[in-house]
Symmetry: C2
Subunit: 336 residues, 2 copies
């Protein structure tokens, strides 16, 4: 990876050229383009959107894979080993992260440049740390857009990593085709570190560290999870979440994990569900953008910012009907 040019965002290089360089798959250009979409400067954002629109028709063909797991489950090793296998097979792999807490926590996720150092040196790989951002919405939007840039740059697989303890998993599930949950052996107690609802999102559950003294514990845990997953089976089952074991450390079971990703994708494609899933995601992204843009517009002057806070508080306190508050917010926006 290379984002030494993080602070070079004001470069005069025209964005048309930048978009073309991204299309050619130049990693430096990709890093620079992502930096541009992460910029908070208003003129940068307008330019970045124009660039994204130019590249959008070239996105869409990658496998979008979300990977989540509790701290200590071995996500870095797992992603690196999986990534190295894919690059060895000639696939281009991008790894992005969503972690709105990384700034405060000191960057637990991809923040350390030494993480995935071997994968980072692979010419076919691109690794991008979590964008700085105050709100999950902002971080999620930028990660989603960065993913589109990676696809336009010709990456075959876009991995979106999330730390597995917060709200970001739902956001990630809304931007990927398959969601993989990585766990370490430890039976039911293991899942206490995983927020309720995340297991629900998983298309694949992988118990890592199935090696050495932990091998049999991993097998037991996988059996328990497989049992639990039965209870969560979807009504119309195009896919029953698959439970697997692996040892990222010893490189065992990773081919089976990747086969699971491919099988899940094939199941979705067979039913036309992949297309529908992506369409639904795009629609829901549209409406969350509408909400974000509206809230932003309402925050842009002191008067309406104060009003918005008052209306939110009055609604939360049960003093004002949400329907009425919504009308007043929209009326304010219309006048502004």
């Amino acid at each position: 990876m290379n984002d030494a040019d993080t602070h070079d965002a004001r470069s005069a290089r025209p964005l048309v050229d930048l978009a073309a360089a991204v299309r050619r798959g130049e990693r430096r250009a990709l890093a620079r383009a992502i930096t541009r979409i992460e910029s908070l400067r208003h003129d940068h954002q307008a330019e970045a959107e124009a660039m994204l629109e130019r590249l959008l028709p070239h996105a869409g063909s990658a496998i979008r894979l979300g990977i989540s797991g509790a701290p200590g489950a071995g996500k870095s090793t797992f992603i690196e080993e999986l990534g190295l296998r894919l690059t060895a097979a000639g696939k281009r792999v991008a790894v992005l992260a969503v972690d709105p807490s990384s700034r405060r926590s000191g960057g637990s996720i991809l923040g350390d440049k030494t993480r995935m150092a071997r994968l980072g040196r692979e010419p076919l790989a691109f690794i991008r740390p979590s964008p700085a951002g105050e709100t999950l919405g902002g971080v999620a939007r930028r990660t989603r857009e960065a993913g589109l840039l990676c696809e336009a740059a010709g990456f075959d697989v876009v991995v979106i990593e999330t730390v597995g303890v917060g709200q970001s998993e739902t956001a990630v599930a809304e931007m990927v085709d398959s969601f993989l949950l990585l766990l370490s052996p430890g039976g039911g107690d293991e899942l206490q570190g995983i927020k309720r609802g995340i297991v629900e999102l998983a298309d694949l559950i992988v118990v890592n560290k199935a090696d050495g003294a932990l091998r049999s514990a991993a097998m037991l845990a996988a059996r328990d999870y497989a049992n639990a997953v039965r209870f969560l089976r979807p009504a119309t089952a195009a896919w029953t979440p698959r439970v697997l074991t692996c040892s990222a450390l010893e490189g065992e079971g990773l081919d089976e994990v990747w086969q699971g990703v491919l099988d899940h994708r094939a199941a979705l494609e067979a039913d036309g569900l992949l297309q529908r899933r992506r369409e639904r995601q795009a629609r829901s992204w549209l409406w969350s953008e509408v909400q974000a843009a509206l809230a932003h517009a309402l925050r842009s002057d002191d008067g309406s910012r104060r009003l918005m806070r008052e209306l939110e508080d009055a609604t939360a306190a049960g003093r004002l009907l949400p329907t009425r508050a919504a009308e007043r917010l929209l009326a304010t926006f219309r006048r502004a």
Copy 2:
């Protein structure tokens, strides 16, 4: 129950009087007020909002209980038996339903007036069928508002029933304090009729029909579910979902179920979570109202309706960036 005056919505009786009659707990007035908020006429809606605002300060003290279950789990019998126990103890109980499909399916849920006939004859009970509506959003909004009316009318418990096979459960979970999932014995296969994600919402899982030949099967199923629930435990556990058995038919185990509801509520209150949960629900309701009002405004003339559909389709097809589509939608709204 009494909603013979369903078609009397154009009554000249001033809404101030109607609100006062609701406050006195008159069931006919409550039925009429709910009919008014369900009206699609624009002038009715404005009046209904004014009435709701007047009553809002008197809402908030009821126990809001969501009950869901697959068809055949015995929801009617269960709710009726639970309701009769509560009214026998002097509690006032309202039962509302969310079921956006009821119109098409011919009204599987509360549509039949003979359902819960005994509870319906109780002076302390109020039963309201599912409102007619084309979209879940519309039905959910009206049910939520009807719940507030019931609270203002002094009902101690507001039960919101949902059929357990669709998307409505998430909407219901967003308007109640506790969510109860009713199942019949039958082990893992039983849950195949339940959509993935609904088990996740449950604060209480109750296996019904623990009587006669099914008693031991119910016990086994409950044990299985209790095992599965361990895997879904929340990270900060103010409450571990409780799994119980009962026989609504023989009236067994219902006191324990109600105790479970009270215990869940106590756990939420001890941590200040009830207040926070309701505040979060109100905020999220506010923003869904904003979105609905905006979409409605954008649909109100042919030009912007066409534009909105175009933008949604272009976004879904990956031809247009959602950010850009959102900007254009808002600009249209501002000009309109």
